[in-house]
Amino acid sequence: MPDTRLHSMEIDTDKIKTLLELMVQHDVSRIEIAEGESRILLRRGHTPSVIAPAITPQPFALAPNPGPAAAPAAPTASSPVAEETFIRSPMVGTFYTAPDPESPAFVQSGEIVTPDRVVCLIEAMKVFNEIKAEVSGRITRVLVKNAQAVEYDQPLFAIVAT
């Protein structure tokens, strides 16, 4: 029996139905979707500890497509190279490291930040939006230059949990 847990009130039952059908169709054991405030986790079948004689990997992963020219391939959060994760842009806009050209940067590489710490500004539609770290950790790299355009979901800072 499928195990479906929903971590948000704003759910779309039609979408979940479609997803469940897709899971069955492609023998997918787990789908996790985060979308703004919503998070959906769907799981079916055996847990990975039970090894079945024939495992079908998700066909979605079998169709590599080099992705758009201008879009940097977003590193996956679960990258095994280090415990590095990313602070990502929640919007399209222009990235600013400091509140104004005269001030120092909000954060420097190497600094330890708390979730509420403002790490940068993103200007969109003439509005400067303060972006918070949302997680605790040490900033290891600043991935975007001051006044550079950023797109949705683009990694801004690399951060390692402390």
């Binding site: 979408k15 479609t18 997803l19 897709l22 169709q25 492609h26 979707i33 979308e35 703004g36 066909p59 979605f60 079998l62 169709a63 590599p64 497509n65 080099p66 992705g67 758009p68 020219a69 201008a70 879009a71 919007m91 399209v92 806009g93 222009t94 969109a124 539609m125 355009a149 950023v150 797109e151 949705y152 979901d153 683009q154």
Partner: protein
């Protein structure tokens, strides 16, 4: 001409606009949601910007994100495609307030035509026929009967607050009108907390015929003949063609000139479509104007040789429409099939998923507009259209033959598509004769499926 524009859409229409830009020598910026990040057509744009998460509300309907993308990429205009923000006058105005041209009609014309009441007033003023009716709310049963006697039975009883078919009843005589009127009022009061009803003549077995319009900002406006889109399932068009097999030359002329009259009265420019329903006596009634490019625009491109998307862009850049009405000739017959990732045998359930097999038809007279290819994935987040298959041949009979041939060649798998449904349609004697109406699919092709799919 613009140096750089942004396409605020996805899928085949985004690719269509990119194609037009590449041919015009205009740089083009694509935007995409997280679900579309691997879309192959993004490689054809000069730049591509991720504007949000999968759900349309977070990306393709996110006006702020799109305008931000337009600002950071320095574009001079935005092409909205169809659907999403394409008919949103507020978005059009936001673009223009940011000094970014919205490739479409004026925000004012969009607003007027988007309002059903205003659009009908415009049509009336332009002497374009409307479905006869009560001309507003009817007070009671007796007034309803009086209206019905004036316009003739059968009639529709509609709830003022209703929409999309809800709160509608038909009446074929006075007895049923009185009964249904009372029932409809109770139903409307319960459903919408507003019991006001109006009466309209019921057009039986209506045909859907629309006229393609193209105008510039200096008041030049022409039609590019009609498209017949009578083959629909639940108001979703499945097959479109030009010329219409239903109407005679005289009706066509009257229809096209009525559409031009109405659009001129609305101060319309850019590409647009005036939709009519036509009855079996070639009476036609205005429905609405779609103030955007339409899915089925290639049908008109094939029979007229006019590139509508390029003209939209040129007109938005301030160019005059150099085409005169007499320059536009209608040649041959063109038909389009919308191939959707749906299972017709299973209540038209959407069938998204990875596409492994994709063999496109080709050869004489075939045009395919699609963003799909082997290795792509049909996303569950957006509409299910995977391809528009078109043929253009000297006669409708030749076009039917070519479409059957092309449908037989088209391989899309393992997802299910509407190709088998189209094959059934193209073998059906009524369709071959050109004798269908908007109820044809449910009545003739899918009897019984109405109930099966009503829960979906």
């Amino acid at each position: 001409m613009f140096n750089r524009i942004l396409v605020a859409n996805r899928g085949e229409i985004a690719l269509r606009v990119i194609r037009a830009c590449r041919e015009l020598g205009v740089e083009v910026v694509a935007v995409y949601s997280r679900a579309d990040r691997d879309a192959a057509y993004l490689n054809l744009a000069n730049d591509a910007v991720c504007i949000g998460a999968e759900a349309p509300a977070h990306s393709y309907l996110n006006a702020a994100a799109i305008l931000s993308a337009a600002e950071i990429t320095n574009v001079e205009a935005i092409h909205p495609g169809y659907g999403f923000l394409s008919e949103n006058p507020t978005f059009a105005q936001m673009c223009r307030d940011c000094r970014i041209e919205f490739i479409g009609p004026s925000s004012d014309a969009m607003r007027k035509l988007g309002n059903k009441v205003e659009a009908k007033l415009l049509a009336k003023a332009a002497r374009v026929p409307l479905v006869p009716g009560s001309d507003g709310v009817v007070a009671d049963e007796d007034e309803a009967v009086a209206v019905a006697e004036r316009i003739g039975y059968p009639v529709m009883i509609k709830a003022s607050a209703g929409g999309g078919g809800r709160g509608m009843r038909t009446a074929h005589n006075e007895v049923s009108l009185r009964t249904n009127f009372r029932n409809a009022r109770v139903e409307a009061e319960n459903a919408f907390k507003d019991g006001s009803l109006y009466i309209e003549k019921l057009v039986e077995r209506p045909r859907h015929v629309e006229v393609q319009l193209l105008g510039d900002r200096k008041g030049n406006l022409i039609h590019l003949f009609e498209r017949d889109c009578s083959l629909q399932r639940r108001h979703q068009k499945l097959v479109e063609e030009s010329p219409s097999p239903h109407i005679d030359r005289k009706t066509r002329d009257r229809l096209c000139t009525a559409a031009v009259r109405l659009a001129k009265a609305a101060g319309y420019y850019s590409a647009g479509t005036c939709e009519f329903i036509v009855d079996h006596e070639n009476n036609f009634y205005f429905m609405e104007i779609n103030a955007r490019i339409q899915v089925e625009h290639p049908v008109t491109e094939l029979v007229t040789g006019v590139d509508l998307v390029k003209w939209q862009i040129r007109i938005a850049a301030g160019e005059s429409l150099s085409l005169k009405q007499t320059d536009v000739a209608h040649s041959g017959a063109a038909i389009e099939c919308r191939i959707n990732a749906e299972s017709p045998d299973d209540g038209f359930r959407p069938c998204p998923g990875p596409v492994h097999d994709f063999i496109m038809p080709g050869g004489p007279g075939v045009r395919v507009d699609t963003h799909a290819h082997a290795g792509c994935t049909v996303s569950p987040y957006y509409d299910s259209m995977v391809a528009k298959l078109l043929v253009h041949r000297p006669t409708r009979a030749d076009a039917l033959v070519a479409m059957r041939r092309a449908l037989g060649e088209f391989v899309i798998g393992p997802i299910r598509t509407t190709i088998p449904l189209h094959q059934t349609i193209f073998e059906h004697a009524d369709f071959v004769r050109g004798d269908v109406d908007t109820g044809f699919i449910e009545r003739e092709i899918m009897p019984g499926s109405r109930g099966a799919s009503s829960g979906g």
